[in-house]
């Protein structure tokens, strides 16, 4: 571990990806992720990697498909409208069992929306987005440090499960500066070792016999019986991921919480300050912050609803998307309240505090 440097989230995640062994990056400019592509354009050549400003997000994700098919760590990034264009490619990556990392620096939508931070792509990220039966592991950082750390986490998970992984951030995390400490740069030998683990399936010509065989990267199975088996296998992979890869933070959680808050990413930062203030005033509020929003930590939320919890309060920068997963976890046990902000506007900790006070008051 080195010293801390002050950096924008977009640049930190780019630097961390290079350190994690990513040598192939393809993307198309869009605000508020442009610092990421610009950083890559400067630093990839220095790392002797490939940077291509693609002609579109569609081309970029398909370049990732080709590079990942060769067993290399490859990444693309964009913001909401561009992520919509990548959905076709993400579905193909999932269908072909390819490891890859996709960063979404979310902005306000729908349509062209605006360029301010938002969380409106939650459904798209965790419920599919592209066509067919697939799931992506979705990492939702809430600080610049976490944003950076999510890069190596994402590549490791992608390799482990041969699967596309999304980092779901937003314009605030992308553009704010915070101190960040990086993992050491992987050496060429370490990167080669990582690539080697894919040699049994990836496109890897020119191997001496008998190791040379015809490898195919493909998501097509025209025979329904074979496709059925293929999709069932994918489903089994999602089951393993669901069991093993949930990750969340418990904040001020205890058996006497009156209200349990649930929030992720940027929204959770603001909720934390409101929770801190209320708890110093003598209330008892807890927070669960899903660090990965798929697989979703349903059981952690269920467990946190002790007999003292009167309400669950969900805060999101959208019209209410993750709340559907929270409701599944709560399963009617207590009321689930919602506060949202849209249009790329953030709520302030004071607004959150006032809202929580109102909900606490209802109990009296």
């Amino acid at each position: 571990m080195g010293e801390k440097v002050l950096m924008k989230g977009n640049e930190a995640v780019a630097e961390a990806a290079i350190r994690a062994g990513c040598r192939l990056y393809f993307a198309y400019p869009i605000t508020p992720q442009s610092e990421l592509i610009e950083y890559m354009s400067r630093m990839m050549p220095k790392a002797k990697g490939t940077f291509i400003q693609a002609e579109s997000e569609i081309a970029a994700i398909n370049m990732v498909y080709g590079a990942a098919g060769c067993g290399k760590r490859a990444m693309t990034s964009s913001s909401s409208p561009g992520i919509s264009l990548k959905q076709e490619g993400i579905s193909y990556l999932a269908g072909a069992n390819l490891p890859a990392v996709i960063v979404n620096v979310q902005r306000g939508g729908p349509g062209l929306g605006d360029i301010q931070p938002a969380q409106g792509d939650y459904f798209q990220a965790v419920k599919g987005g592209g066509h067919g039966d697939y799931k992506m592991i979705v990492i939702a950082p809430s600080t610049v440090q976490e944003f950076a750390d999510s890069a190596s986490d994402a590549f490791d998970l992608a390799d482990k499960y041969r699967h596309p992984i999304m980092i779901l951030s937003d314009g605030l995390l992308g553009q704010m500066m915070e101190p960040v400490e990086f993992q050491p740069m992987k050496t060429t030998e370490e990167i080669e070792e990582l690539n080697k683990q894919h040699f049994d399936w990836c496109i890897h010509p020119n191997q001496p016999e008998p190791n040379h065989h015809h490898h195919e990267i493909n998501s097509l199975e025209i025979d329904p019986i074979i496709l059925e088996q293929h999709v069932i296998k994918l489903g089994q992979k999602y089951d393993v991921i669901t069991e093993k890869e949930q990750k969340w933070e418990e904040y001020s959680l205890n058996n006497d919480n009156e209200i349990l808050c649930v929030a992720f990413g940027t929204a959770s930062r603001l909720v934390k300050s409101a929770v801190d203030q209320l708890n110093t005033e003598g209330f008892n509020i807890g927070l669960i912050r899903p660090i990965r929003v798929w697989p979703y930590p349903y059981d952690a939320i269920k467990k946190a609803i002790t007999d003292n919890v009167k309400k669950v309060a969900v805060f999101e920068l959208n019209l209410g998307q993750m709340i559907e997963d929270v409701r599944l976890a709560v399963n009617g046990k207590v009321p689930v309240k919602f506060m949202g902000k849209v249009g790329g506007i953030l709520f302030t900790p004071e607004e959150i505090k006032a809202q929580l006070e109102e909900w606490l008051q209802e109990e009296k």
Binding site: L24, F26, T50, I52, A54, E55, S56, I58, A59, A60, N62, M63, V64, Y65, G66, A67, A68, G69, C70, G71, K72, A74, E88, G89, Y92, A96, I203, H204, P205, N206, H212, H214, H215, E216, I217, N218, S219, L220
Partner: protein, 250 residues
């Protein structure tokens, strides 16, 4: 005993899934023979399209990727950048390359991406049952141009070699046909040239094959050949559009 016709090593022994008389089989064979003759099979990675030739990834006996419809040049770009030591080719139909994938092909060509593109122009969407393609000829009837392609309404067929050779980067662009034995011999030469240039790392190469789709044209294979000569040649002129090896420069 001398072997005169042998299946190229660069084809697997799977039987083709093409209709009788379809030219896809011929273009597969030419590419595979060229790969054998240049001894490139072990250094080659191919990208199959979506179209009748979707199973090209099973037919070519080298490492292959199957791309989404039209995206083959982008996938090939990712592969070539990941493995610059290897040769990469795409195999694409006219719907794949000249409609849904226009952006990917133009930009791969414009970057001078070091890949070979084999473009099968049969003036129709074969796989989906004979709809109009961007290369469908004026007044030609298809299942989605039942009154004939009306150029006033939907425009003229796209001439891919002309379009690609308007860019500066491409190294070699040639239109050949598969309509007669002589044409096939010429086509083979073009394929060999394209692959050799790529082996030498010279840049982007594209070979367009004027082809037929007897099934969706509703003709016998022989009639389809005749029809194509009469109707496609006036629009899709055979010949070389770019060969930088003859220019001396760049």
């Amino acid at each position: 005993m001398k072997v005169i016709a042998q299946r190229p090593k660069s084809l697997t022994d799977l039987a083709f899934t093409y209709c009788p008389g379809c030219t896809h089989g011929i273009s597969h064979r030419l590419i595979a023979e060229a790969m054998d003759e240049l001894d490139m099979r072990d250094q080659t990675m191919g990208v199959a399209p979506v179209g009748c030739s979707v199973f090209a990834y099973k037919f070519f006996n080298c490492d292959m990727a199957e791309a989404a419809h039209g995206r083959a040049p982008a996938v090939a770009t990712g592969m070539k950048r990941a493995r610059p030591d290897m040769h990469v080719f795409t195999y694409q139909g006219d719907g794949d390359l000249a409609a849904i994938g226009t952006s990917e092909i133009i930009h791969a060509a414009n970057r001078g991406e070091n890949i070979s593109v084999f473009f099968i122009n049969n003036a129709i969407y074969g796989m989906t049952g004979g709809q109009m393609a961007p290369t469908t000829l004026p007044n030609m009837k298809t299942s989605t141009s039942p009154y004939g392609r009306d150029v006033a309404d939907i425009g003229y067929p796209i001439q891919v070699c002309e379009l690609i050779s308007s860019l500066r980067a491409p190294y070699y662009v040639e239109r050949v046909s598969l309509l007669s034995p002589q044409d096939i011999i010429k086509a083979k030469k073009a394929v060999l040239k394209a692959m050799k240039f790529n082996k030498e790392g010279r840049g982007f190469t594209l070979v367009e094959f004027v082809s037929t789709c007897p099934t969706n044209w509703g003709m016998t294979p022989l009639d389809a050949m005749k029809w194509a000569k009469e109707n496609m040649y006036p629009f899709f002129k055979l010949g070389n559009f770019r060969d930088k090896s003859l220019e001396g420069g760049e």
